[in-house]
Amino acid sequence: EPEVTQTPSHQVTQMGQEVILRCVPISNHLYFYWYRQILGQKVEFLVSFYNNEISEKSEIFDDQFSVERPDGSNFTLKIRSTKLEDSAMYFCASSEGWDPNIQYFGAGTRLSVL
């Protein structure tokens, strides 16, 4: 069964460093999403992406964050100058269409900022 894959599973970085989280969405899906989940808290929407541009973004998704689809398969989330509070699980998701927009999630990348 097709699945969304995320790498790495765990990323440790120093405060102030840049990180890139990588995702390979399901191949025929057109909509891509990033979420984060701080330990023990709710899953928070960051951004949705379609047709090589951002469709929607939340208040969390500020200038520190950027997304890119550098080729036909990868979807990346870049966090510039990481802060301690960026430590969280980051989930990538994809959906085939926008209605219905059933999302398939990856297993997540645990980001630890020291």
Binding site: K42, F45, Y50, E56, F91, D99, F105
Partner: protein
């Protein structure tokens, strides 16, 4: 906040019993979805109900939606130990912006 909120936050039942979780939200939606998350894993889609639907079934799952009260419920019948997980409602706004609730942590005791 537009986010859905589930209650209860935690639910512990015996295998074979039914589990009911509720979700409330604040603004108009296109649809509402329920997802399940096993500890430390990604979310898995369970069921979607559109804003013009009132009830939907899928296997042992039954979802209701009351748009006048801005609330939904998820019923899992004849629960099993394998149903132990966190359950989240997600509301879709403009189809591409989603808000997840805080989740209900369900523990089904064998």
């Amino acid at each position: 906040s537009q986010q859905g909120e589930e209650d209860p936050q935690a639910l512990s039942i015996q295998e074979g019993e039914n589990a009911t979780m509720n979700c409330s939200y604040k603004t108009s939606i296109n649809n509402l979805q329920w997802y399940r998350q096993n500890s430390g894993r990604g979310l898995v889609h369970l069921i979607l109900i559109r804003s013009n639907e009132r009830e939907k079934h899928s296997g042992r799952l039954r979802v209701t939606l009351d748009t006048s009260k801005k609330s939904s419920s998820l019923l899992i019948t004849a629960s099993r130990a394998a149903d132990t997980a966190s359950y989240f409602c997600a509301t879709a706004h403009n189809f591409n912006k989603f808000y997840f609730g805080s989740g209900t942590k369900l523990n089904v005791k064998p």
